[in-house]
Symmetry: C2
Subunit: 317 residues, 2 copies
């Protein structure tokens, strides 16, 4: 195939930073609030405009994220920043609503086994919960968006195969239940580019632009290749974590989430505008290495540095 | 774009193992011949059918590859194996011809600065040399194929930008000079998927199926994404090194070549048949870790292991 007959890459894409939530929640240490705010400010200064700052879960379950309210309040003072939080239950949704977050991400799992084990709900119970969240949001007259995030979309370490039909049905149910947007996550790093092409292609046929985001892990090294495959189906928003932290790697030393700096580097190199300054991200990564001593960090760009020929599309927002 | 309107992936691809040459030449240790033969046998048993076993360079320059003649002789006894060697000069070409290797890879560099610094020839002098090699091959009545491998095709650490026109002109000159095939290498890890799509698309327009192989480095984490982009332009042969060794990484700890096991895993997961058994490759990687103590190994799959859902297309050849 000649380049002019291949699916075009989009002119711009959004890299949503989820390190402060997905990254930190799986580390054994608690980062001080002041340090998190420093991270948040630096990510914003680097050009990141969508940041998941925490999760409204009981502090006894995730002490790492106990200061989410404070993070949201601070983040809301940064002009043009879309502030998201993860919310696993109705109580959390109430807290999210009163926090003033711009978006609440509700995690579901297409794997019945994973859903019951991790969320203590069947997928359909989770859909019913989201419906109640939507009612609460509407009753409050809040502009907060609700995103249904479907995890284990490409397979599950408990259940093994997850049927594409189950994923698509769950997406449809979520939209019917009132989710403003839906997204797909490869929670355990089972996706490959062909599977991404198939599932995201079908999901976009179903949900259109309401399919808003892809969340890939780099567990087996395919994270960026999967991003590339998703780009071709029209997806233009990707979750990523600074230094690739988090993502519940289930093997010692295995990498977790796609690393923000590598992803931004790939997109900008391709001429896909992210608005993010890679040099600043690399400096932030250096800071994270100091903040998280002894924790496994990932990613490749930081070792080799930018190519001499790198010409980013970055423009300060 | 919907999946059915995207460029199809090929049904099969070849992963050419270059670890015994490109991998070992950049390590400070010399692997004993018996160990190399063990590697060769195991790679063959895993299903690999194209292996670069060494280089015909003076032993004082690359003592790591001094036993190339013996490797070729042994490899030639494995049925159906295509045995390649790297050859940088006419003397080496004579040795390659008498060794009975199936293919001789002649490295060139599209970067004038890199060509002069590393090969001590301008690109045009290297083309003239290949022309003489072709004459020698024909005079000997040998069936050995000659592949012109164009390095620094995506940029150069010395010169910076390498113009696509220069790369394409060099490819054309090589074909005119009698190369049976040509290939493109991202010697320093500067490629990105959009650049791969552009250059490989143009190069295939010029060379058709005589453009036979892509050689990517994973220096900045984009190795597999670049493979994916090249697949879409119709390329279906890729160089790789077991455990991602070699590739002259120019930063401490930076990864070099794309790792064979990760690449085979990606392709097989996508339903692209390689004929290679990933489990056997992972066992071979374990052996390599014992053979190369203290050397930096790369790749992601070995840490996490295969997904529960992995169903390879592997069939013993």
């Amino acid at each position: 195939m000649q380049p002019d007959s291949l699916a075009p890459y989009p002119p711009a894409a959004i890299v949503r930073e989820v390190g402060l939530r997905d990254g930190l929640q799986s580390l054994p240490m608690v980062l001080p609030t002041a340090t998190k705010l420093e991270w948040l400010e630096a990510a914003y200064a680097a050009g990141q405009r969508e940041i998941e700052v925490g999760s409204f879960v009981p502090a006894r379950l995730l002490p790492q994220l106990a200061d989410t309210e404070e993070l949201v309040a601070h983040a809301k003072r940064l002009p043009g920043l879309s502030v998201s939080v993860l919310v696993p239950n109705l109580k959390g949704a109430e807290r999210a609503l009163s926090s003033g977050a711009d978006l609440m991400l509700v995690p579901l799992s297409a794997s019945h086994a994973h859903s019951v084990a991790n969320l203590r709900k069947t997928p359909q119970e989770a859909v019913a919960m989201l419906r109640e969240m939507r009612a609460a949001r509407d009753a409050a007259g809040s502009p907060m968006l609700i995103e249904g995030g479907v995890g284990t979309a490409f397979g599950c370490t408990l259940q093994g195969e997850v049927r594409q039909d189950d994923v698509l049905r769950l997406l449809g149910d979520l939209l019917d239940a009132g989710a403003d947007r839906v997204s797909l996550a490869d929670t355990v790093g089972y996706a490959d580019p062909a599977a991404v092409r198939r599932l995201f292609g079908q999901a976009r046929r179903l949900a259109g632009d309401r399919l808003c985001c892809a969340h890939f892990h780099d567990t087996r090294g395919l994270g960026l290749a999967n991003v590339l495959a998703a780009l071709e189906t029209g997806v233009a928003r990707f979750d990523a974590c600074l230094a690739g932290i988090g993502g519940c790697p289930h093997a010692p030393g295995a990498s977790g989430n796609v690393s923000t700096e590598d992803l931004v580097f790939m997109l900008e190199s391709m001429g896909i505008r992210t608005g993010v300054d890679v040099d600043r991200l690399l400096a932030l990564r250096d800071a994270a290495a100091r903040w998280l001593p002894g924790q496994p960090l990932h990613g490749a760009l930081w070792r080799a540095g930018l190519p001499k020929t790198y010409s980013p599309r970055f423009r300060a927002a």
